[in-house]
């Protein structure tokens, strides 16, 4: 056919021309080189073989095409725009226009020529990936994904880019302008549009989640196809529009008409696909809003307690049918006139019966409102049966989280993964309680109080019929009976999970717990990688479990623990009220396929890498020892601790990993309930679950200078009450941090009034006795009152509703070595004051041991440079502070002090060992940082027998914070001024970049030193409540800070500046002498020499009557505390001291200045 012949001809020569262009050659050769190295680096045995990528084979073509696509989407713009320019510029091409071919043939030929060239490049890059894929031992091959990603990622992007470039070039007819517009569109896609409105504008597939699971394949193919077809069709329509806009007289009416017809068809196709894509987004938003609004109607209603649930479940393709027999109890104070249940809105209720009588019911979105006929009186029970069928609407599951992939990203490396909350297909099913696949008498979200959660401990029975012979997984022991799998958990559970798939099972019984692993065929790679552990696995698991039980002071409450492999897309959002994520269910953990997203799960690679490192370091470690280490690392980072640091909209947060086993020790076993204080259970959990964590901040976050959770929470609570904060449903980890502080305060109160050890013993038994039961907080209060005579309930009102914070001042710290009996002991006394109008609590602990001491705190006593993030080890100073009074254990606390409003107390503590530093945690208070370390440098030796002082002595008045004869201006005071940059670079001026001023507090970071004065907090800095300073990058005198005051009495004044030293997180040193760290610390300095100090000369300008004196202070040689800058005569006027950023050091820091009148 001439038609095809012409297209082929034009395509052939267009491709030939482009292939010979230097731009394409450069791009293609560059791509080939880069992608060869990239594939080797990422996927080959000599490279990184990052487990999250190599575990799922589809990631090879995905990563390759994802990255190539970004490049080609831009390059194709240049080449396509060049197409028309070339035709315009070269008369030579006119000879082709006089040939007998239609414009359609010519434009399509050109398009196909460019397209096939790029597709060829894509295939070459994919071939490189495939080659590495074949070579790699860790990767299996998924050939279909190579084709799928080519069609999903590259083709629509190329077609759309080409079409758009053609049309713009045809209309604008200016190559430079067209480039600019097209590059702008590409940049807009990558930096702004990729996540908006359900990624509808993401023509480059830059953000849309297209990660393919090895278990279920593409999980949202309908959405992906529609979104990609939108741009494919739109691209084709634009190409056809180019045919019509092409500046050559047409020759074929037929082709022209066909072009118009197809243009309309493609536009219609694009519109349909666009509408489908938008509908998914809109539907999601609508469903979430509907869920929230429906919940708002019912959040103040009373719900029954579900005591028993027996579910008969039939799985039929992408639907299921179930009948649930429910037994409920009214544990409310009022009668229940209606029974309210939540059920996934996509499930249709067919009938509800009670005693074989049909009950009237209303369905309001996901709520089932049942009229039982007679009201259920408090304490009474009732039974009813609900039959329903249908599918699962996932947007219902977490209505308070939008589907915005930027706000709540879930990524494997740079690629977004679609977040799924349930799976329901013919071959695979996963339903967790979050999907409300069975009726539950509660709401999934309480709009006015997002931290509220209703927990029922329910006796479940589940009978599942699956005709495909797939493995059925749920909690409890399973019995198979005539095609039915029947599950009966041993304990009442907070929720039931069901998974059906082609699972294989392994079982291991350790101690009294049966460990079951459910995995897909071929996914048990760890057996081979950890082959040496076969014999010791039992002991290791036993050890880990015992350690966990010790940490939480609670026994693992279930007889089984199932580890179930689920598609990588399965993702739960964090809940404000609990650390529990849907990945961890009672006696069950849902792990990502092939453990892909878990740190340290690439055992083989880690093994070989570690082995090489050992050889290099002459370390002898057997294979078994190494595997033990790897296994332990994996278990710890996955189930026990593990950071999950991320930036979200510029805010750093450290979200705990999704697989923490901690909840199994509390959340799934105990529940403290309060109608008045619905957040109480979350507070209990938050406090009791903290032992496994690394302290207030993770390593990376700490390096960036983020504040501790404690301080963050106190800064927030300065503005708003706990209750109001919860109702505002703030984003990020705000609620988590606030819950922690509030929990710490509450438990410290209980300990302060009942005794630390006494409370621990009693509370441990109390929660064991109340396992799998809901405890009303008023009952808990009664029980405490009965046992200890302390009524804590009245404190809750101020704790929950109050906004005022106490503030603590600590003065007159003295330590004396005294002799009591025949023993030398240490008497610590200090004065604590709370000038604020509300009561508060703080606790005290000590760091003990001699210089270079060992064990806990040993590292802290050494003057070490904690370069890198490994510093501190188990003896980390901040670690010990942060841990005090958290979790079930509180043995590290020496004393907890309750301070009334406007009170001052002298506190006495006697220690058996020499204290090195006193550490105070002010918990909920105005003090920032709330964790204060007070070094103990001088110990007074008292001869003879001294009377010890232990306890508290209330003072008649609050001692003044500063000497009235001194004028102190702190960086927090109004007399402190930071100056703006005096010069702005022309580029910054042009771009409108303004001088930045640090607003919120941070901790000092030597990694990213700001070019503006950033307020930082540290307990060694000067301050009343807020111990802060400001710091900036050392520079050339273009920035300054000024302390000013009004001198009322003329005369000679000594001028001092405050240097807060010795407890910098990154550098701890005293006296300018460097000594290697003790065993608890990690000192990376191999040669014993200290690294160069970032602090050097600091230049103070002192303004006085005779002019200005510039005093240079050597930070290293300066004392910690007040440093005298000289004596000056000052008249009755404004006095000022200026510190500039001029320094040869990397950091300049300014804190406080004082003027002391000389007599």
């Amino acid at each position: 056919m001439t038609f095809l012949h012409n297209i082929r001809t034009v395509a052939e020569y267009e491709a030939k021309t482009l292939r010979r262009s230097w731009f394409f050659r450069l791009f293609s050769i560059g791509s080939m080189v880069i992608f060869t190295f990239l594939n080797i680096g990422m996927f080959s045995p000599v490279g990184n073989e990052s487990w999250d990528l190599v575990s799922i084979s589809s990631s090879v073509p995905l990563i390759n095409l994802y990255l190539l696509n970004i490049g080609q989407a831009i390059v194709v713009i240049f080449l396509a725009a060049d197409f028309l320019k070339r035709d315009k510029k070269l008369d030579t091409n006119e000879v082709l226009y006089t040939r007998s071919m239609s414009n359609f043939e010519y434009v399509i030929g050109k398009t196909w020529g460019i397209l096939r060239l790029f597709l060829g490049l894509n295939i070459v890059i994919l071939s490189i990936g495939l080659l590495i894929n074949i070579i790699s031992k860790s990767l299996s091959i998924d050939l279909m994904s190579y084709l799928s990603y080519l069609l999903i990622i590259s083709v629509p992007t190329l077609v759309f880019s080409l079409g758009l470039a053609f049309v713009l070039m045809s209309v604008i007819r200016n190559q430079a302008l067209t480039f600019l517009i097209l590059l702008g569109i590409a940049a807009l896609n990558m930096f702004y549009l990729w996540f908006r409105i359900g990624s509808i504008f993401d023509y480059m597939a830059f953000g849309i989640p297209v990660f393919k699971s090895g278990i279920i394949g593409f999980d949202d193919l309908n959405f992906i196809i529609n979104q990609r077809l939108l741009y494919f069709f739109l691209g084709l329509a634009l190409v056809l529009a180019t045919v019509l806009l092409f500046k050559r007289l047409p020759q074929s009416k037929l082709h022209r008409n066909l072009t118009v017809i197809f243009l309309i068809i493609f536009l219609a196709g694009a519109a349909i696909c666009g509408n489908n894509t938008y509908s998914v987004y809109k539907k999601g938003v609508k469903n979430k809003n509907l869920t929230i609004e429906t919940n708002r109607q019912f959040e103040n209603e009373d719900f029954a307690t579900l005591t028993d649930a027996s579910i008969d479940f039939i799985h039929e393709g992408d639907k299921f049918e179930a009948t649930t027999l429910l037994k409920i109890k009214n544990e409310n104070k009022e009668s229940l006139k209606h029974y309210l249940f939540s059920l996934n809105p996509s499930l249709v209720v067919e009938k509800i019966t009670s005693d074989e009588k049909n009950l009237e019911f209303k369905r309001i979105n996901h709520i089932i409102e049942i009229d039982p006929g007679n009201a259920l009186l408090p304490g009474q029970t009732d039974s009813l049966s609900i039959t329903y069928k249908g599918g699962i609407n996932e947007s219902f599951c977490y209505p308070n989280f939008s589907d915005n992939i930027k706000e709540t990203p879930y990524r494997i490396q740079m690629v977004n993964v679609h977040k799924r909350q349930a799976f329901l297909s013919e071959n695979y099913l996963l339903l967790t309680p979050e999907s409300y696949w069975y009726p539950t008498p509660s709401l999934n979200y309480y709009p006015s109080n997002p931290a509220r959660i209703k927990i029922d401990f329910t006796n479940y029975r589940l009978s599942v019929k699956n005709e495909k012979g797939l493995t059925v997984v749920s909690q409890g022991r399973v019995k198979t009976d005539e095609g039915y799998s029947v599950f009966k958990p041993d304990n009442p559970l907070t929720g039931l999970t069901l998974a059906i798939g082609n699972y294989k099972t392994d079982t291991l019984k350790v101690d009294s717990v049966e460990y079951l692993s459910y995995y897909f065929p071929g996914h048990d790679y760890y057996k081979k990688d950890l082959n040496e552990l076969k014999d010791t696995l039992k002991y290791m698991i036993s050890g880990i479990m015992r350690e966990l039980e010790t940490n939480f002071s609670v026994k693992y409450p279930f007889r089984t623990l199932s580890l179930v492999e689920v598609p990588v897309q399965f993702y739960s959002y964090p809940k404000e009220s609990t650390q529990t994520r849907a990945e961890v269910q009672p006696s069950m953990v849902l792990l990502p396929e092939k453990l892909s997203t878990l740190q340290n799960a690439g055992f083989y690679k880690q093994f070989t890498r570690q082995k090489k490192r050992n050889v290099r370091n002459n370390q002898v470690l057997t294979d078994k020892e190494l595997e033990v280490r790897l296994f332990n690392n994996f278990i710890r980072s996955t189930f026990i601790s593990g950071e999950n640091f991320r930036f979200n909209n510029g805010v750093a947060s450290n979200e705990p990993t999704r697989y923490l086993l901690g909840p199994s020790f509390y959340f799934f076993k105990n529940n403290f309930f309060s109608a008045g204080y619905p957040v109480i259970n979350a507070v209990f959990e938050s406090h009791l679950q903290q032992l496994g964590q690394q302290g207030p901040r993770g390593g990376f976050q700490a390096m960036l200078g983020g504040l501790s959770d404690n301080d963050k929470a106190n800064l927030i609570l300065k503005q708003i009450s706990f209750r109001d904060l919860l109702s505002r449903n703030p984003k990020g980890d705000t609620i988590r941090t606030v819950l922690k502080v509030k929990g710490d305060w509450l438990f410290n109160l209980l300990r302060a009034e009942t005794g630390i050890d006494e409370f621990k013993t009693w509370f441990y038994k109390y929660i064991e006795d109340h396992s799998f039961k809901r405890v009303d907080i008023e009952q808990f209060d009664t029980d405490i009152k009965e046992k200890f005579g302390f009524d804590f309930y009245p404190y809750l009102n101020e704790w929950f509703n109050g906004k005022e914070q106490p503030g603590f001042l600590f003065t007159d710290l003295k330590v004396e070595q005294i002799i009591i009996g025949d023993r030398s002991r240490y008497q610590v006394t200090f004065v604590a004051s709370n000038p604020e109008p509300v009561a508060g609590l703080f606790n005290i602990s000590f760091r003990t041991g001699g210089p270079g001491g060992s064990g806990r705190g040993g590292g802290q006593n050494s003057e070490i440079f904690m370069q890198g993030s490994r510093g501190g080890g188990a003896g980390g100073g901040r670690f010990s502070i942060s841990m005090q009074g958290r979790g079930m254990e509180a043995a590290d606390i020496s004393k907890i002090v309750l301070m009334g409003p406007g009170k001052s107390k002298r506190i006495g503590i006697v220690l058996d060992v020499q204290p090195r530093a006193m550490m105070i945690n002010t918990l909920f208070a105005k003090n920032i940082p709330g964790e204060i370390t007070m070094p103990i440098n001088d110990i007074i030796k008292t001869k003879g027998i001294t009377k010890e002082f232990t306890g508290e002595e209330t003072l008649s008045s609050i001692p003044p914070f500063t000497d009235p004869s001194e004028i102190v201006v702190d960086n927090e005071d109004s007399g402190f001024i930071t100056t703006k940059l005096t010069t702005t670079s022309p580029l910054k001026k042009l771009l409108g970049i303004e001088y930045k001023k640090g607003k919120s507090y941070q901790e000092l970071s030597l990694m990213f030193i700001p070019e503006y004065w950033q307020p930082v907090v540290q307990s060694s800095y000067y301050g009343k409540y807020v111990r802060s300073a400001v710091y900036t990058r050392g520079g050339t005198d273009d920035k300054s800070v000024t302390w000013t005051t009004i001198i009322k009495q003329p005369g000679y004044y000594n001028v001092y500046c405050y240097i807060g030293k010795s407890v910098d997180r990154m550098m701890v040193r005293t006296g300018g002498q460097f000594r290697p760290g003790g065993p608890g610390g990690n000192n990376d300095q191999q040669d014993g020499k200290p690294p160069e100090s970032p602090y050097k000369d600091m230049h103070y300008k002192i303004y006085h009557d005779e002019g200005v004196d510039e005093i240079t202070l050597d930070y290293e040689k300066a004392d910690g505390g007040w440093n005298n800058l000289g004596k000056y005569y000052l008249s009755k006027d404004t006095a000022k001291v200026v510190l500039t950023n001029k320094s040869t050091g990397r950091v300049v820091i300014g804190d406080a200045v004082k003027w002391v009148k000389q007599n």
Partner: protein, 297 residues
């Protein structure tokens, strides 16, 4: 093949009236279109090769309106534009192959054979694999004519084909066209070089400022200049005077001064001989004396 141009007008968006009511008719053989720069030749050519639509008027090829039958007309066309110098990154044979393929030569083997035959005909076989961009100006022109010839077109339109060529190349080019004109094809040659017409064209038209000022055979044009071309031998002093009053066509230095040829309505005051005019003389006489148009080139 009969080509009729009826009432053809071309007005550009900037108001330039490039063609004014052109009426022409010619058949097979070579037809020359002569005129100074800006006369409207290229506009007419572009209309003839369907690159442009006239503002009004029709061009009929064997009675068929070319604008209504572009597909068929384009299948008959071979076109060499005026500016045929810049190529995309194609080799000589590839460019020809591309043109051949679009000209309907579908069989690859036959096409390659034809490509080589034409390259041989225009003397480019040796540079077959050279990048077309790297050919000399003359070679590019020859490649241009080869591509215009591929696929046996019935109408060949060549726009200013000899501009910028050295005399050898020019002669060579004229010869190729002459040979072609022996076949059953219509060659429309647009030029402002009068010599291109005289040697090859059976019919011709003269365009000036968009108007058709003459159409007929070159001989007819020459007849207009009969008795108006003179040869004079002049001293340097007289030469300056003649230059002031007459159109000098050629100047040859001789021992006593200059031997010049002039066109004039009347015999000059100087001693002169009447000579037989050629087409060049006729073109100058026609443009300068009939139309009072100053010939710039």
């Amino acid at each position: 093949m009969k080509i009729e141009i009826q009432g053809l007008n071309q007005i550009y968006p900037n108001g330039n009236h490039a063609l004014k009511n052109i009426n022409l008719e010619f058949g097979t053989g070579m037809f020359g279109l002569l005129g100074p720069n800006g006369a409207g030749k290229s506009s007419l050519m572009r209309i003839l090769v369907t690159l442009m639509k006239p503002t009004s008027g029709v061009v009929l090829v064997d009675g068929k309106d070319i604008q209504k039958n572009r597909k068929e007309i384009r299948a008959l066309l071979g076109y060499l534009p005026q500016d045929f110098r810049f190529f995309t990154s194609l080799k000589t044979w590839e460019f020809l192959d591309y043109s051949g393929s679009l000209a309907g030569l579908k069989n690859r083997k036959e096409r390659i054979k034809e490509v080589d035959r034409l390259l041989d005909q225009v003397g480019l076989l040796e540079v077959r694999d050279r990048q077309a961009n790297r050919l000399s100006g003359g070679m590019k022109r020859r490649l241009g004519i080869a591509q215009a010839l591929i696929g046996n077109p019935k109408i060949i339109v060549v726009d200013e084909p000899t501009t910028g060529l050295d005399p050898d190349e020019r002669i060579r080019f004229r010869n190729i066209l002459s040979q072609l004109s022996q076949h059953d094809v219509t060659i429309i040659l647009s030029t402002h070089i009068v010599g291109d017409i005289s040697s090859t064209c059976q019919g011709m038209a003269l365009l000036n400022r968009g108007e058709l000022v003459f159409s007929g055979s070159p001989e007819n044009l020459v007849k207009h200049a009969d008795g108006h071309v003179f040869k004079l031998t002049l001293s340097p002093y007289d030469y300056e005077r003649v230059k002031e009053y007459y159109n000098i066509i050629s100047t040859i230095p001789v021992e006593t001064g200059w031997e010049v040829q002039i066109v004039s309505d009347n015999p000059p005051e100087f001693s002169s001989t009447n000579i037989i005019p050629n087409i060049e003389h006729a073109y100058v006489y026609f443009m300068e004396h009939k139309l009072h148009t100053e010939i710039s080139d």
